[in-house]
C-alpha cells in the first residue's frame, strides 16, 4: 500500500490530521488508515496471521456525521475486539450511509505508539475541492 495522504495539524492537548482522498470513499478509507497508523505499527517480528473480517454498517443524518461515526465505530471495534485494521473495503456508500468490511489482525502483532480515546467534532471540516475531498479531524488522545 502506498503512503496515506495525510498530515498533522498542531493541537496542544490532542492530535489533529488533515487527510485527502480522490473520492469520498477514498477519503473515508484514508482517514481510517491514517488513524490506525497513528495508533500502532506492525511489529517486524510478528508472524503472518489470518486477518479477521468484520462487517460495518453506518447511517447518519449528514456526511459530517457519517465520517465521524465511521472513524468512531472502527476505533471502538478495534478496542473491543483487540484488532488493528489495515484493510478496508467500502462496498456501498452514499452521502449518509455506508456498508463496509474491515479486516484486521490481532493487536498483539502491533507495537502501539499512542492511544486515541475518541474522534471529536471539535474543529471538524469536510470539503470538496478541485482535486478531491479533504477533511480535518481532531482525535482526543
Amino acid at each position: 500500500m502506498g503512503k496515506i495522504p495525510y498530515e498533522f495539524i498542531e493541537h496542544t492537548a490532542d492530535i489533529g490530521i488533515r487527510v485527502r482522498g480522490g473520492s469520498l470513499e477514498d477519503l473515508f478509507k484514508n482517514a481510517a488508515l491514517a488513524m490506525f497508523e497513528i495508533i500502532a505499527e506492525r511489529k517486524k517480528s510478528a508472524p503472518q496471521s489470518a486477518k479477521k473480517h468484520l462487517k460495518i454498517k453506518q447511517t447518519a443524518d449528514t456526511t459530517d456525521e457519517l465520517f465521524i461515526n465511521w472513524l468512531s465505530e472502527l476505533l471502538s471495534l478495534s478496542s473491543a475486539k483487540g484488532l488493528i485494521f489495515s484493510d478496508l473495503k467500502i462496498e456501498k456508500m452514499d452521502e449518509t450511509g455506508l456498508r463496509a468490511t474491515a479486516a484486521g489482525e490481532d493487536s498483539g502483532n502491533y507495537r502501539f505508539n499512542r492511544e486515541i480515546k475518541a474522534v471529536t467534532y471539535h474543529g471538524f471540516k469536510l470539503e470538496q475541492g478541485p482535486s478531491g475531498w479533504q477533511a480535518e479531524v481532531i482525535f482526543d488522545v
Binding site: 496542544t12 490532542d14 471502538s76 499512542r114 467534532y121 471539535h122
Partner: protein, 486 residues
C-alpha cells in the same frame, strides 16, 4: 510565539481576569480566568480562551464560565474548565464538559517508609510495579470480570473491589463519593461499552496516566500535613488513571446523541462538541446515569491499581501493606459532572457542576468530605509531569464561594504531543531524568516523549496561582523518584 487569542481580558486582581459577556452575542455569563500575567501569555497561545467563551453559551449557566490556571485547548470545553448550570432553570449537562475519560482522576497513598530507607532500591521497586501493574494501550488486567460482575462494578464502584478483598472500608471513606456515586444506571450502557470494559479493570492505560513513587519534599502547612499523616522525607504513591475504554465509549455514544438534542430543545451552542440537553430531560438523565457508571468504573479501577501496588510493596519489603502504612490519603475525580448545592447570589441552588480537567476542592465543613478532614478541607491532589513536583493541597471556603468548590487539576499542556515528539529525544530524556534521580519505565517510548516535562507548564507556578487566589491551599509538595507509564 504569536498570540492566537486577541479577545478582551480585563484584570480583576492579580490572579483573576474577565472576558466580559459583551464580547460575543449569546454569552450568558462572563468568562473568569484564574491565572497570572505570566501564565496568561501561554494561555493566549491556543484557542482555550475561545472555548471558555463558548461554554458561556450553555443554557442555565450561572455566575461565570471558569478557567483554572492549567487551562489548555481541548474540544468543546477547554481542559481546566468549570461550569455550573441551574437545574431548576433548565440548566444543561454536556458530555463535552466532562470529557471522554470520565472520572480520570488521581489517588495518593501514604507509606511509613522514608526516602533514606529506599533510595538505593528505587529501580527494583519500579521494576516490580512495572511487572505487576498492567500498563499501556490495549493492556489487559488480571482482574477479569464477568458481565454480571461488571454490572456490579458500575453500581458499586470501589465498594465492589473492597467486597472482593481488594481493599478495606477505610479506602472508601477516603475516596470522593466513597468511590460509589449514587444514581448509576447500567441499563443505559451499551453492549460495546461492556465489551471494552471487561478486560481493562485494574489497568493503568497510557498517555498522561501513571503510577509514581514520590518523596515528600516540603511541607507548607504543618497542621494539615499532620492530619493527612504526611511529613518531609516520607514516601508516597500516586496513581493517575481513569475509566479507560469503557468511559470513552459512554462519552462517545452520549455526545453523539446530544447533538440531536440540540435541535429538540432549541439549544444554540457554537461548537458541536458542546452538545447538551437539560439535566431534567430524558437525554440528560440517561447521560447522568451512564456517566456515573463510568465514574464508578474509574474508582474501581484506581482501587484495583492500588491493590496491585500494595501487593508489589508487600513482595519487595516482605511485610503486609498495613505494616507498611499504605493507607489511602484521598482519591479525587478530575473529569466529572456532579449535582451539588451551592449559593448563587445569596440563594442556595441545585447545580450541575462540570469539572473538566478540574478538581473538586471543598472547604472545611462542606458536606461530602471525610469526617477526619472536616475541619481542614478536602484533600486536593495535583499530579505533576514526571520530572517536576506534584502537590497535595486542601480545599477552602473561598473556593466554595467563588468556583463551586473547584481548583486546578495539574500542570496543563504547553506543547502539542507532536511537537514534543519532534523536540524530545527518548534516550536523552531518560538520562536527564536519571540524573535527577528519577527512574522511568514505560511500555512505549512515544508516550514518555510526549509527556516530557517541557511539554507542560510548570506545575509549581500553576499551584502557586490557585494558592494565592485562595481557592485551595498548599499542604505539601512531592518530588518523583520512580514512574511507570503506559
Amino acid at each position: 510565539m504569536k498570540e492566537m487569542w486577541q479577545g478582551p481580558l480585563e484584570k480583576i486582581d492579580d490572579r483573576r481576569f474577565r472576558i466580559p459577556r459583551s464580547y460575543k452575542t449569546g454569552m450568558l455569563v462572563d468568562g473568569i480566568i484564574i491565572a497570572d500575567e505570566r501564565l496568561l501569555k501561554s494561555i493566549r497561545q491556543d484557542k482555550a480562551l475561545e472555548q471558555v467563551v463558548n461554554v458561556a453559551f450553555l443554557p442555565g449557566i450561572v455566575k461565570a464560565s471558569f478557567a483554572m490556571p492549567d487551562i489548555h485547548w481541548g474540544y468543546g470545553f477547554a481542559i481546566g474548565g468549570v461550569a455550573a448550570t441551574d437545574i431548576d432553570a433548565g440548566g444543561v449537562i454536556s458530555p463535552g464538559g466532562v470529557g471522554f475519560d470520565i472520572n480520570c482522576g488521581v489517588r495518593l497513598v501514604k507509606t511509613n517508609l522514608r526516602y533514606d530507607e529506599i533510595k538505593d532500591r528505587i529501580e527494583k521497586i519500579v521494576a516490580r510495579l512495572f511487572s505487576d501493574v498492567p500498563a499501556g494501550i490495549g493492556s489487559k488486567g488480571d482482574i477479569r470480570v464477568s458481565p454480571k460482575e461488571e454490572r456490579q462494578i458500575l453500581i458499586k464502584g470501589a465498594r465492589w473491589c473492597v467486597e472482593q478483598g481488594y481493599g478495606v472500608e477505610a479506602d472508601l471513606e477516603a475516596t470522593e463519593e466513597n468511590g460509589e456515586i449514587k444514581g448509576a444506571d447500567p441499563s443505559g450502557v451499551s453492549d460495546r461499552a461492556y465489551e471494552r470494559g471487561k478486560a481493562q479493570s485494574g489497568t493503568l492505560g497510557s498517555g498522561n496516566h501513571f503510577l509514581e513513587i514520590q518523596a515528600v519534599e516540603q511541607v507548607f502547612d504543618r497542621g494539615a500535613a499532620d492530619r493527612f499523616g504526611i511529613s518531609e522525607g516520607q514516601i508516597v504513591l500516586m496513581i493517575h488513571s481513569g475509566s479507560r475504554g469503557f468511559g470513552y465509549q459512554v462519552c462517545d455514544e452520549y455526545a453523539k446523541g446530544m447533538i440531536k438534542a440540540l435541535a429538540k430543545y432549541s439549544i444554540n451552542v457554537p461548537d458541536r462538541q458542546l452538545a447538551c440537553a437539560p439535566v431534567n430531560s430524558s437525554e440528560g438523565k440517561a447521560y447522568l446515569g451512564a456517566m456515573r457508571c463510568a465514574a464508578n468504573y474509574a474508582w474501581a479501577n484506581r482501587q484495583n491499581l492500588m491493590h496491585l501496588a500494595r501487593g508489589s510493596f508487600e513482595k519487595i519489603f516482605g511485610r503486609s501493606w498495613q505494616d507498611l502504612g499504605m493507607d489511602l490519603i484521598y482519591d479525587v475525580a478530575h473529569n466529572i459532572a456532579k449535582i451539588e448545592k451551592h449559593k448563587v447570589g445569596g440563594k442556595e441552588k441545585l447545580l450541575c457542576v462540570h469539572r473538566k480537567g478540574a478538581t473538586r476542592a471543598f472547604g472545611p465543613g462542606s458536606p461530602g468530605i471525610p469526617a477526619q478532614y472536616e475541619d481542614i478541607g478536602q484533600p486536593v491532589i495535583i499530579p505533576g509531569d514526571m520530572g517536576r513536583n506534584s502537590y497535595l493541597l486542601a480545599g477552602t471556603r473561598r473556593a466554595m464561594e467563588e468556583t463551586f468548590g473547584s481548583t486546578c487539576h495539574g500542570a496543563g499542556r504547553l506543547m502539542s504531543r507532536h511537537e514534543a515528539k519532534r523536540r524530545v529525544n527518548f534516550s536523552e530524556l531518560i538520562s536527564r531524568l536519571k540524573a535527577k534521580g528519577i527512574v522511568v519505565m514505560s511500555s512505549g517510548r512515544g508516550t514518555v516523549v510526549e509527556e516530557a516535562p517541557e511539554a507542560y507548564k510548570d506545575v509549581n507556578e500553576v499551584v502557586d496561582v490557585v494558592h494565592k487566589a485562595g481557592i485551595s491551599k498548599k499542604v505539601c509538595k512531592m518530588r518523583p523518584l520512580g514512574v511507570i507509564k503506559g
